[in-house]
């Protein structure tokens, strides 16, 4: 188990999307050499989403989300009814479903989550609403850790693009997300550049022998 005080590269999300139409979707760099897809605030996706890039959800998703090697961020305006599989999952909005993070799950103060969390590291910020079980993966617990929440800072930054459908591709990079199912709405969300700073929550201290 590792409850690290400072975790780099935990992205912050854009503010809730504006209602007005937005420019066409354009995947943006996540700052780690990858790509990021954004499901805008007015978008509703029903179905399964698989991808090879980071995903930010500002709209609604019902189904499943599978981006195992990447980051899923549910922004404050995001509403997800889905099981989510990702490397890092950051929740600021509402989630009904089970979250599986191969690296870490972070529930920020505005998060409202009903479901089970499975990850080697889980951080709940003060104010986060959560009901469910938290399972630490076997064999990953004894890395140290301790009580007390703290907030660190990271350096991830990105500028967002809006996705007006259930799928987004990253074009030249060759990576992309695919959504099976239906998508509704215009591309009114996700065009607002995310804040550049990223923060993480967690704690660290040595365990008692």
């Amino acid at each position: 188990m590792a409850w690290k005080r400072n975790e780099p590269d935990i992205p912050s999300t854009p503010s809730p999307a504006p209602a007005s139409p937005a420019p066409p979707s354009r995947p943006q760099s996540s700052g780690r050499g990858g790509e990021r897809a954004v499901i805008g605030g007015s978008i509703t996706v029903q179905g399964d989403i698989k991808g090879q890039e980071d995903l930010t959800i500002l709209g609604q998703v019902k189904g499943t989300i599978d981006v195992k090697e990447h980051t899923v961020t549910v922004g404050q305006s995001g509403k997800v009814k889905a099981d989510v599989h990702a490397k890092l999952i950051v929740v600021e909005g509402r989630v009904e479903g089970n979250l599986f993070g191969s690296d870490q799950i972070v529930l920020r103060s505005t998060a409202d989550v009903q479901g089970n969390l499975t990850a080697p590291r889980v951080a709940l910020e003060d104010g986060a609403q959560f009901k469910g079980a938290i399972d630490m993966e076997p064999g990953t617990k004894a890395k140290g850790g301790g009580p007390g929440g703290s907030t660190g800072s990271g350096g991830a930054s990105s500028s967002g693009g809006a996705s007006g459908s259930g799928s987004s591709g990253s074009g030249s990079s060759g990576s992309g997300s695919s959504g099976s199912g239906s998508a509704k709405g215009d591309s009114g969300g996700g065009d607002k550049p995310p804040s550049g700073g990223a923060s993480s929550s967690g704690s660290g201290s040595s365990g008692r022998g």
Partner: protein
Amino acid sequence: MGFLDRLRGKGRGGGSRGQGAAPSRSPRRGDSPGGSGEAETPSIRLRSLALGTLFSHLVQGGSYEFLDLGPAIGSNVQFLARYVKSVRVGDLHGTLTGTTPRNVERALDELTPAGTYHGVLAWDLLNYLDAEELQTAAAALARSVAPGGYLLAVIHYTAQMPGEPLRFRISDEETLTYHEPRTTRPAPRYPQRTLEQAFGALELEHSYLLKAGLQEYLFVRE
């Protein structure tokens, strides 16, 4: 040594009715209550003899499963993660408060699979259940405790108790902090005999009177 073996005869209190340490008030106002939107009140540190006893029976890195009936508090989850494989956060009071009509049995139904938990943290919950709810909740919770597992509960023995359950934060293995309550209400003052009968399947291992108007109970399932 199995879990059951570790639970036997290792309590620090040396018996029931230990004398708790007086709480100390912290002048600082950090450590937000979190989630309630309430303005912060002074933080109070409390030496918890029951918690100390409970943790004295656990080993770090264990594969314990815990049920925390309080609201989600990140620092508690992180602390418990030193010891447990899994912690389920129930927030029973919040669930009941947000449900009309209140239904303890339904609220606990999914939370309390039989014989599951090595530790149940009821905290300040029982005070906020009426007599009938207490019986229902105690029976369900008692069933959910695994053999050798513990249940920790706190009761207000004074005439008045906080208007809302205290939100305890685990500072270390035997220290809790909570915020001074802003409002009070009459306390049911459930006597020890009532609790022992309600948790019939569990045995009262320790009962600690604390000077903060609190009484801690540590039940164990044989």
